[in-house]
């Protein structure tokens, strides 16, 4: 499995003309399976582990000493810790939003970007989720922020954005994991089968399979949950993927609302502003695209995946950054304009202090890194330059971090009480904590690159089929004509029969054959199709065209959201009546944000469970795996299986019927009897 690289497409193409299903699978799977850059990976991993070790050290010191080591024991109670949190969760939101929106819009080319974006979202959430916990005075009581059955008879304060944040992060982590894993599921099956092929090749070469390769295949097999690529699997998979993407988009808005209303809902000058939540969201997406673009370019150049991640992909990312850069610029301009037009003296002072005060470096970093660089993408040449895309992506991330520092520190350093205006400066421990969390991110990212496919195999294959469908079909037909119909006897005739299988080179052939078989002894035959990409054309023949997973999503989300909202109302208006700041007992608007987040999480869990249970997964051992050559169902072959249902199943008739199909309308490449 070496040298499996694809030719980069010429000109403005998204994928090379020679990209076949098989070639794409090999090109992507060879990275985790053979790992071509072992030494460089280990060097990078050692560096990341060193940073992670630093993180551990800092956390130990933090637990022993307290949050004062960050220099926060003054009025600036939120500094690098919350800036880091906001930044990580911003990057996470941005990258998830990009992946989800592209999926919902049906962008065929997203395969090159979506896996990286989803992974960045997941790993950033892991890094972000630690901050709210470690910035507590007593981190071991973090669960006090959650509604749990406690002996104090207390409820958390559901009206507070601090609580929204806790619910948002937990929900976001669940949705991220789910979206990431569902996207990964068919690719994991692909990796499993490539690993088995490697083990079989070794057996051929050495006479016995290497235990290690077999274990590797089994490890991928377990995480792939027994994915067989059946048409029914694919149908629900596509629905689940899109549904969770939609839930994720809604959750991003809710999450960023929680993070920004915590500031905007206060009366602090510089925070108390209606544009702030919008700025937060725009900059979040902006930084998410920046980090995603940088990592995409890195993976592309390191693993030579320019056959799949084309210059056109980079150009699209660059255009996205340009758009968001303009939106970000607009938000800043609006803030200046409205503050100077009708803001009060305090707000104007904050703006002046941002530009000229002790933390002016943060403002000028924002200008130099966040606002200006993306404007370079007006130039078409820079849009197509991988170096420029990566560099500007990193700059945007730096600028977004500086923005969070500026917004938090400048306002807090001078609040309304002159007596609490103590100078704040970043401490080495605050910086070390952030560096450590970067170490956590990098360690996980490197593990991801080492063991999982960095580019979506499935989406790339769909793109290849969409770009050159006619050519693929023609090639398939040619292949079918060139080979005589194979129906070898392999000594399994006496074994109890599970069914009959037929292999095809294209979905079109498979659909034609399925149509020919259906309608005859329906009660005794259970038809199913297996292939490397979704097969919408056979669903009607299989009689499952109307199946939908969306009801589970809607019911799950509604039930979860209503339950959470009900809990807020019960707790705040009845069980734990507690007047703070004259808020009414039934202050429903503040319950909407956490309820929405919780609804998205329960919808996601419902969809995820429905996907597995309706598909009867996980199922590691299944008779379909007995189909000869079934490994290629995750590669470049389509299999039609006719499973025997009862005694009256006539295998010979099915075989005769399949064999009599004309070459141009569904003649199989081979027909096999499959033992149980």
């Amino acid at each position: 499995m070496s040298g499996a690289t694809l030719q980069p497409p010429s000109g403005t193409g998204l994928i090379g003309p020679d990209a076949t299903l098989h070639g794409i699978g090999r090109a992507v799977a060879s990275v985790p399976l053979t790992h071509p850059l072992n030494r460089r990976w280990w060097i990078a991993f050692a560096g990341a582990l060193a940073l992670l070790g630093l993180f551990g050290g800092v956390l130990c010191y933090l637990l022993l000493t307290g949050v004062g080591i960050w220099g926060n024991n003054n009025a600036v109670v939120w500094a690098l810790d919350i800036a880091s949190y906001d930044w990580w969760i911003g990057v996470a939101s941005g990258s998830l939003l990009v992946s989800a929106v592209l999926l919902l819009l049906g962008a065929e080319w997203r395969g090159a970007v979506n896996r990286v974006a989803e992974t960045v979202a997941l790993l950033c959430t892991c890094a972000a989720g630690l901050y709210p916990i470690i910035h507590l005075g007593r981190p071991w009581f973090f669960f006090w922020n959650l509604p749990y059955p406690n002996t104090y008879d207390l409820w958390p304060q559901f009206r507070s954005p601090l609580l929204w944040d806790a619910i948002d992060i937990v929900s976001y982590l669940v949705v991220c994991v789910s979206l990431w894993y569902i996207g990964l599921l068919p690719d994991l099956a692909s990796l499993r089968d490539r690993a088995v092929e490697d083990a079989l090749a070794q057996e051929k070469a050495h006479g016995r399979p290497r235990k290690r390769s077999l274990l590797k295949a089994q490890a991928y097999g377990i995480v792939a949950s027994g994915w067989r690529g059946s048409a029914a699997h694919w149908q629900l998979w596509s629905q689940a993927y899109r549904t969770i993407a939609l839930l994720g988009v809604l959750l991003v808005v809710s999450l960023q609302t929680g993070a920004s209303v915590m500031l905007a809902g206060s009366v602090m000058p510089g925070w108390h502003d209606t544009i702030l939540p919008v700025t937060f969201l725009v900059n979040a997406v902006f930084s998410g695209v920046g980090v995603t673009a940088a990592i995409v370019v890195l993976i592309r150049s390191v693993y030579r995946l320019d056959g799949l991640i084309s210059a056109r992909h980079l150009e699209i990312l660059a255009r996205l950054m340009l758009c968001l850069g303009c939106a970000s610029l607009y938000c800043y301009a609006t803030e200046f304009f409205s503050t100077f037009l009708h803001g009060d003296q305090q707000e104007r002072d904050v703006l002046i202090r941002r530009i000229t005060g002790a933390h002016a470096w943060a403002f000028w970093t924002v200008v130099a890194c966040l606002l200006i660089p993306a404007q370079a993408f007006w130039s078409a040449r820079l849009r197509r330059s991988p170096l420029a895309v990566a560099l500007i992506g990193v700059l945007i991330a730096i600028g977004a971090y500086a923005d969070h520092v500026m917004v938090l520190v400048v306002t807090l350093a001078q609040d309304f009480l002159p007596s609490s205006r103590l100078a704040y400066s970043e401490t080495i421990w605050g910086v070390a904590t952030f560096a450590g969390s970067v170490g956590l991110f990098l360690t996980l990212l490197l593990l991801f690159l080492r063991y999982l496919p960095a580019v979506s195999i499935t989406e790339s294959r769909r793109l290849a089929l969409a770009v050159v469908p006619a050519a693929a079909e023609r090639r398939a037909v040619k292949e079918a004509e060139a080979r005589p119909l194979a129906s070898e006897r392999d000594g399994t005739e006496d074994a109890p029969l599970w069914g009959v299988s037929a292999a095809f080179a294209s979905e079109g052939d498979l659909a034609a054959a399925a149509a020919a078989l259906s309608g005859r002894d329906d009660a005794h035959v259970h038809l199913d199709a297996h292939g490397p990409v979704p097969m919408p054309r056979v669903l009607r023949t299989l009689g499952i065209a109307g199946r939908s997973i969306r009801a589970y999503a809607i019911l799950g989300a509604l039930a979860g959201g209503a339950a959470f909202f009900g809990m807020c109302v019960y707790a705040t208006a009845y069980d734990y009546v507690f007047l703070i700041g004259g808020r009414p007992r039934f202050s429903w608007p503040s319950f909407v944000v956490p309820s929405l987040s919780f609804a998205m999480m329960s919808g996601t869990i419902a969809v995820h469970l429905a996907l597995l249970i309706l598909n009867r997964l996980p199922r590691l051992n299944h008779p379909a795996f007995n189909i000869p050559g079934f490994l290629r169902a995750t590669d470049d072959r389509y299999f039609l299986s006719a499973e025997a249902q009862g005694e009256r199943f006539d295998a010979d008739r099915v075989v005769r019927k399949l064999a009599s199909l004309p070459t141009e309308a569904g003649r199989p490449l081979d027909i096999r009897r499959v033992p149980r």
């Binding site: 590691l620 795996f625 007995n626």
Partner: protein, 219 residues
């Protein structure tokens, strides 16, 4: 292709998944149960004391009033632990040679207090006042249980916040007429539903919003 997994692998895999889910749901439930259990709260556990003093004998059978020993319960924040002198008012006259009472006599002779093992502890951030409770009609047994039936004294209730809040939210359920405060076997009478609110009004108890303010207890 040969199967990568044996048929039994599915059962093991699904069992492992279900176990994981069950643990996820079960661990908080078990933990919530453990922190409420007598094992953690020590409710009903009578520790060894320097002298095996019996509330049942002294207060229940002999009829010594609570206030004979816990003298400041009506006037101060603490009810007061009696000094050895209080014991010796009787035991200098009766059971003067008893082995069981030797620690009491030693304490008296050496002028050192007896080191009782404390049962009812509140965290230092909780402000509690006995006098306001007993003078407003909350009886001893509401918190300390029927002490007159305890041979060796044990903790009758875990003084967790939910225990306090239960009454602070609705004192009418527990408030008694003044003469019933020292009754260790008091049960809410049939007419508590009407009597309670009357007593609450009479004693100027502002339950609900006032008594559930944080600063009532956490000053």
């Amino acid at each position: 292709m040969a199967q990568l997994f044996s048929p039994g692998a599915d059962a093991i895999y699904r069992l492992a998944l279900l176990t994981g889910v069950a643990c996820l749901a079960g661990i908080p439930i078990v933990a919530a149960g453990i922190v409420r259990s007598d094992y953690v709260t020590d409710v009903g556990v009578a520790p060894a004391q320097p002298v095996p003093f019996s509330h049942k004998h002294h207060s229940g059978e002999l009829g010594v009033d609570c206030r004979y020993c816990h003298t400041t319960v009506e006037t101060q924040a603490t009810a007061g632990i009696p000094p050895t002198h209080t014991c010796m008012t009787c035991h200098s006259q009766i059971w003067t040679g008893s082995d069981m009472l030797k620690p009491v006599r030693d304490s008296f002779a050496r002028d050192e207090p007896l080191q009782w093992v404390r049962l009812n502890k509140l965290p230092s951030y909780v402000y509690y006042n006995h006098s306001v409770h007993v003078t407003k009609g909350i009886g001893c047994s509401t918190c300390h249980g029927d002490v007159t039936s305890m041979q060796m004294t044990y903790r009758a209730n875990a003084f967790e916040m939910q225990f306090c809040l239960d009454c602070h939210r609705d004192p009418a359920k527990y408030v008694r007429p003044q003469e019933q405060v020292w009754n260790m076997t008091w049960k809410p009478p049939e007419n508590q539903a009407t009597l309670g609110p009357e007593l609450v009004a009479k004693n100027h108890i502002r339950g609900g919003e006032r008594l559930t303010e944080c600063a009532i207890c956490h000053r």
